[in-house]
């Protein structure tokens, strides 16, 4: 499994179990999370903490916006582009 897919599965699992709290929900890579009403903007702080804990870097506050973090794909792309090598 590629890194991207592994990261996707990890973040999706986090979103479904911790934030959306419905592990059975079918969440596509490009489904809108905040504008789609699945999570609210308060949850982005939790996403930020999760990324920091799991991937060893702290996403900048300015990057935690609806424009940059509204889909699973955006989150995974962000982690893959910024995680320490």
């Amino acid at each position: 499994m590629s890194d991207w897919n592994a990261t996707r599965d990890t973040i999706r699992d986090f979103l479904l179990t911790k934030l959306i709290r419905n592990p059975r929900l079918k969440l596509g890579d490009t489904d809108p999370l905040i504008t789609g009403g699945l999570i609210d903007s308060f949850s982005l702080v939790e996403v930020q903490l999760f990324i920091e804990e799991k991937y060893g870097f702290r996403p900048a506050d300015i990057d935690m916006t609806v424009e940059t973090m509204d889909t699973l794909k955006q989150m995974v792309d962000y982690v893959e582009a910024n995680r320490p090598q």
Binding site: R21, N22, K26, D31, P32, I34, T35, G36, G37, L38, I39, D40, S41, F42, L44, V45, E46, L49, E52, D61, I62, M64, T65, V66, E67
Partner: protein
Amino acid sequence: MLKPTVPSDRLLTLETREQAATLLDRAALHYAQRPDADALIFIPFGKDEGERISYRAFFDGAGRYADALRGVGVAERDLVILVMEHSEALLYAFWGALMMGAIPSIFPFLSDKLDATLYFERVKALVTHSGAKALIVSPPFLESLSGLLKDSGVRVISEANLQPGSGKAHFQTTINGEDIAFLQHSSGTTGLQKGVALSHRAVLNQVAAYADALQMRPDDVIASWLPLYHDMGLIAGFVIPLVQGIPLVLMSPFHWVREPRVLLRALTHYRGTLCWLPNFAYNFMATRIRDNALEGVNLGTVRAFVNCSEPMRAESHRQFETRYTPYGLRSGALTTCYAMAENTFAVTQGGIAAPPTVDVISRPGLMDQHVARPAQNGEPTMEMLSCGTPIPNCRVQIVDSEKRPLNERQIGEVAVKSDSMLSSYYHRPDLTEQALFEGWYLTGDYGYLAEGELYITGRKKDIIIVGGKNIYPQDLESIADGVPGVKAGRAVAFGVMDDRLGTESVVMVVEAETQDEDERFEIARQIRMRVAKETEVSLSDVRVVDLKWLHKTSSGKIARGANRDKYLIEKAQEQQR
């Protein structure tokens, strides 16, 4: 350190209340007597500190908006709606409208989630039904709203209409204490119908009485991130400091949500003493800030965090206390309040002289006998966090369904009487008449009194409160009703307490004919998306159920309480499987 501002004999208290007839009298006093003292500090996004704005600079800045409003023909007692982001400009615009005797009302700002077209239509609807004479908008909205309102006769202005230069304050109007100072609106289709009109007299009565209850001091400093379209943000986090002449450290809610540590840093840096928060914020700050972001934080100057605007939880206080005691949080600094826009703001305040009482009562006593009594014979118990005692100008009584007063510890509806009550719902005498009974405002909350302290146990009305924000379930249900596949009139929304978040989460249950799982999934997805775009609410759960699942009342209406109970039972059963 902030510059000392108001001498102690100049605070507006019950003793000095008669010295001011309008909010402008207080503004003029600070402008004349302490022009160089710090009125406020606005912390911009991404920063921990902001520019200090003196009373002279602040009220001169407001003067530019007053001149601009006059320039477009706005007169005293005209309504002016502010559609502006949480910014310094909004602060000036609000006081600018007040300064020329107009009536400002702050409209919630467009968020990332909301659909812009629907949002503008909602602004237009409010302007039309309220008879507003002008809008002050953030520059990016000027074109859209000017276009939408071009045939309405309503003037739309923004910063572009202001004269260059620093402006000049002027406080001469024919406004008196009985005139309306400003309106407060709840959000949503239903909330916008009810503009709470507050007179200058009512607001000053509240400021004075609440100062006594808080034992306010001249060296107090208020820090706030609360939105100004909400009563707690507007009154506690804006009007009180400006009227009292004590400094305000303000940041935007968007800033705080992304970076919650900014509030704690501001309290530390500016030696904040008072801070109002809705209950969920205690959970949020106890769990969502990393230790390394708290370096240098010292909350030792804070004499009161005031929990208000949604059901308060002793557990939320415990979490916050555990997390922040190592950062200087004083024992006894966590206080409580019961408030509502219709009373300007605070009705009760607890925890100032001594920590708020936690009343441990029998759960069956509350649920079955409607009385708050001690548990007997090993009955299950529940902790009730006291809202404190009524502030000096307020009276509270508990009444039954026939509006007869009930005894101590009997559960009934909370009724409030005070001299800081609304003048009316703006242009809605029908709603005003419904809300008041012999001068008592019937709050729609259930509660009890014990040894002079008020405890809130629940809600008569179906309103849902998320993070301190009122949400009307009927607004959400009508959105769900329009989603293809939902059986007409068969949608119900209700709130469920989420202990982890410390606030309510919103659940929607709808009936659908289809049994197909994929179609049901699509219905749920559409409901979530439309509700988010139209109301900003994220639904925590959407259940698509079979026909006849929902309970109805004898009069054929969907029974929210009964359906909520059924949902909770089913959910508990699912979790046991």
